[in-house]
Symmetry: D4
Subunit: 219 residues, 8 copies
């Protein structure tokens, strides 16, 4: 069960190369894909690679991976050198619990050569935490915002800045907010113009959308 057919041409067609979503794959499947890429000398981004799964990969592959357990991402092949990072995208996380998702976005940006500075713990219960960062946030051309629980950050933020906001609901919460749907719905129902949403916990998707926007619109 290790058949796969990589979409090598995707970067040309859509601007973003294919990545490997590891959550529902077996160690054998991930190892086979990794081996093929190593052999072909291609770079590859792995997402949602939990520590236990990483530990179950062959040592050879593990050695070739730049693995970050906090975000569950791994880079195969050399990342773009930090000094050349393209700027324009900022990441905001409502609370410290939202950092793994924010970091998945930051790492995805880094893999593709984009800077993704994270501004953490700016939940709207204490508005000053947000407003004292406004100056910095307003420098970005696109903001990726990550929030769980009730996600009020998305609306407040979009009402304060000119940049579009890519909202990523995180599955941080309990009771009615247990799976991130409340925060997602808040992003979708937001009265503030300029908020668009990606799937819950999808830091990768927010980052690739931001890159596509920068490439297509900022060209």
């Amino acid at each position: 069960m290790t058949e796969f057919r990589l979409d090598h041409d995707r970067a040309t067609r859509t601007g973003i190369p294919e990545a490997v979503f590891c959550e529902h794959k077996s160690a054998a499947q991930i190892a086979a894909i990794g081996a093929a890429m190593m052999k072909a000398g291609q770079r590859m981004l792995f997402t949602r690679l939990r520590s236990e799964m990483f530990a179950a990969l062959p040592a050879g592959l593990r050695g070739g991976l730049d693995y970050d357990p906090d975000s569950g991402t791994a880079f195969l092949g050399a990342a773009s050198p930090e000094q050349e990072m393209i700027e324009g995208i900022g990441i905001v996380a409502a609370g410290t619990s939202d950092l793994p998702v924010a970091r998945e976005a930051a790492r995805t940006l880094a893999f593709h050569g984009y800077a993704g500075p994270v501004c953490a713990d700016v939940g709207v219960t204490g508005l000053w935490r947000l407003t004292e960062q406004l100056e910095t946030l307003r420098r970005h051309r696109i903001i990726i915002a990550v929030a769980g629980m009730e996600g009020a950050l998305f609306t407040v933020l979009a009402g304060l800045i000119e940049a579009p906001v890519i909202a990523v609901a995180s599955s941080v919460g309990y009771g009615v907010a247990a799976d991130g749907r409340v925060a997602l719905n808040v992003a979708l129902a937001s009265c503030a113009p300029g908020v668009v949403a990606v799937n819950i916990d999808n830091g990768f998707g927010a980052a690739t959308a931001a890159i596509k926007i920068l490439r297509s619109v900022g060209r």
Copy 2:
């Protein structure tokens, strides 16, 4: 089908007399209750009485009712004179679409002898609309806040004031926010302490809870 058994003693027991929820009752049922109350010389609050239903009531009863079509409320019997209104409760509505629910709360307060000034159109997309009202809002001991769509107002408000916030989600919205559940969930999932919720569109419930709080705690 006009049997009913009013809970005359409820005011003594719980502090709030029974009211008549008209939405699922027939005109005949409402008329029968009204006639009995008129005969007994008792005051009564009717809620969710739509204009068409009001028009279908007997002229005699209609004449005895102080009816407000915007909120769908009617008072049978003299309301408490305005000059004696007890203060302490403020009402905030996120948008003009939320005014019917806010007004149901205000009318319920008025029926019971409480002032309920409404501060409208303070949605958080333009934070200045809220912050310029803060001085006024901080004078209240309890705030009833009404908001539909994504309900971010609840969290932002509770992070700015000391008074507890009774959140009433309104069924104003469409798509994922069509029935008020998103705003309700936001109130329940709010990170800000001091937010409590009542049912969607339940201005009556928010008002009676505020009265019970004032009576029980403020005594």
Copy 3:
């Protein structure tokens, strides 16, 4: 119940002036807002203004409105002249049933001075309808895609073009697809990078997000 507090400063702060969402407002509320804007000589966009509601507005206001019944939008004040329209945003509608939402997006763009050519009936059941438009679609820097039913268009489109796709699920469908949630979830769960979503039927939101992106990123 006609209190309102317009956010005159919003255009400066966020790049998009406030609009009036009419669906849950009474004719009196809409008329009052319109009168105030006419008096102030300000332009204003009204959305989700159904024909019956438009007919219920005062003749004076009606006369000042450029009303489009298909999309339920109205412009108060002169629109930007067509010849100056800013290009870069294209609109794709999966079927003819999706045209009202697509047109809400196009009208919102027009009100703000942006061109929004609509490419209709490119559902993926007949892929040729989409592929024969690819040349044209690839000229746009941002695509707004509208689709109901199962919304497969979002994924297929995003896999074929470089521009980011703002997906608007439309509430076109029945059975499991009755309210647009299936198409919305497809947009959110899409494997294709570069798809972001707004609320169901929210052509206005897609258009304002596209404008914010063009302004912030394309500057």
Copy 4:
């Protein structure tokens, strides 16, 4: 991933200092926050800190914490001395299974200097268990009620006492009642005036709301 930005000023602004919700945080994140607070000599309440997570914290921090495994709460710094506890808030738990949530409320009250006597096992299947406690319950100015399963307690209780009821649904149940939503909806749909709700299992939220009410209204 240990960035955080505590809202030191929150107590002044809202009457309740910030607490640390531990459920979605890593041990490293909790330890960093704890160390900062110890260094600053500030008191802090930790909630939803499971035993395994507590055991994973550095010994130095563990030693400084007053940890209660039943409720998953920990106090950093000296609690308010018991003799000065402010009275007025009572806690009712429908069954013994609801005690962890009731205890989270009681501990939160204690941390802030409020007494929170718990009256347990008063489910309405045996009404006498509730009625024999009425005398005691009527002494409180606010009641926090915790119930899972079908939550009928909320309505019955609110029909018997004058104090407002803050309803906390607990996630105790199975089948249709598996996640506490039935009890929550019962609280929201209750016919009895004076019932307000917080999120499922949110003993902390009920306690802080009760405190805000006592402070704001009882002042």
Copy 5:
């Protein structure tokens, strides 16, 4: 589209003859069934027959029907004479809004020759309304209880009497309780033994279940 195939033998097999559920049938379909039954000289119960649909039936059929608009039920053929009514089943309705459903149960019982006295307006917000009826209610061998909103009646009632309770949630409510699911779930999640449930608004089903129980168990 008037084909039908009545299950004439059902009474023998299951104890209950077939009835005609009218809600999704056309007037032509109902008329055809009625004509066939009149011709065959058979009695028949029609349920969920709204007034407008009744008015659309042929005059000949209308004349042969004992129609009750409150419950939407009609009897074709002579009902069992009142004096022979079999006793043992009591009906309880929480509020006056629940009477149409209670009456559907009572009429179904009557059609089959069973008495079904209705005890109305015994909601648990005022427990005395229920307790003062206990003596009467305890005389029945089976209780059909109808309640909407939060349905706390089911649990309280079952905790007070020995008879089994057949709970019928009614679709009386709004917000979270809009469609009767909260009351249904309360019946299903009830801690009190002896509560069984039928579908929302299904007075017919409760009545036929009660009859089957009396016939099968009370024989």
Copy 6:
């Protein structure tokens, strides 16, 4: 956290003594209740007592319990001697996977002195399995039917026998049927008269309802 208040009088009032639902209780809580009952010399039924929890109880209590791991039930005190078992209730299980729930019903019946013969594996895909048991099933006065997946058994069975059917949906299934709701809804929506439902997996509730019916109606 071991406070409890047993409802010793419940058997007199409702016909069924209180039982201990163990799922959300700690070992300490269960042990305390058990110790109190042993001391008082009272019999007690424990339900949803998983093997791991049973193993965690004090040896003294374990020794006094008649524990059945398949159903998760335990009897404290002597069960009613088998020879005196009251007849009239039959149990039907659609598949072997439904046996734990069926057995919870059978054990609950046994604890109270009722026979509960189980007829297993009569799913309706092979109707002969059901029809060849009809003779036996028709001897019972009440049938408890347990089924997961799509629960078609409830309707087919109720169409074939005169006895009322207490339907217990089991949480056996996957995909759309993962939590037993489909089978529960089938029971509630069944066209066949005489089907009543209890909560998913609630063999205990079905058994106590059957006992209440036999006692109240069969007296």
Copy 7:
């Protein structure tokens, strides 16, 4: 808003020509499509064309349509002559309320030249109604089964015949079964092999699937 792009080639590619789903289209849109087809001399099937919408079409188009109000279908152009109808597909409807959906399937078959005899009112509450039709049903190579409420028909039928069953849930029901989802889930969760499902009320989809099966497999 009348742009459309018909997929003339679809019949060649997939075996089924495109049809016009009218529910979300305006009269103007339908008229434009109809006019284009008439001009081109092409046959066309219209589905979900309600009587009011049909009445709103231009007389010229109406005259050219073979319209069936029961199923909401219309044929433009000559239907295949009855005598050449291809056999092999049978349609079963559980109740008379399910006939509109069954008839949509039959009309779709007829438009494409296939016979679709309907066998109505074979619900499983009276199994004899189904079993007495078994001989006839077993002659078909594919069965389209339509059922609402609890949909037990799907499982029972599939357990009795060799032909595959295409299950169409109908939105006939109320309470938990109000929108056809229960019947749909029953089809999906059925234990009986050979049951496949299409969308709720989708008689058209069942018919086209049956045709594709006959063409592709029976060739």
Copy 8:
């Protein structure tokens, strides 16, 4: 708890012999069934037999089983020899994560003597992966398609080929797509004719439906 009643006659009646669904069965139950079948010399297919459960079976049974851990299927008794495999059914899997479900289908086909070649990793984000397989896919008379996430494959595939598509949503995804419902709904709501659906992850059901179709229609 090992009672079972196998439906030996099912193959004759429906064309497919009974299989053993292991997920909710205990090792003892599975072992008892296996022993009975071995004794009777009958072949048997076991599905959803996880590795841990397989390991818990008696060695004697394990030795007689052809077990495939990837799909969780086991054959008892000799499989049909490969050379006689009946052709006509093709399997398509959108991604490598969908292979376990695709393989359950392939193994079910193999057990019954049908070939089931799997074509993997043809997700529609890279359409070329699908179109380059079209030639091969068009040779099959029925296609089983497996896809998770947003399931756009179902619609695109059905728009390109003549064969009917049996869609199996897989529970591969996260956030809004966490349980496979989005992909299932896409299959049901698909605009493309000829798509029918089975339950989520139900490779077995797709395979048996395909076999029934081939046997009944292709005869």
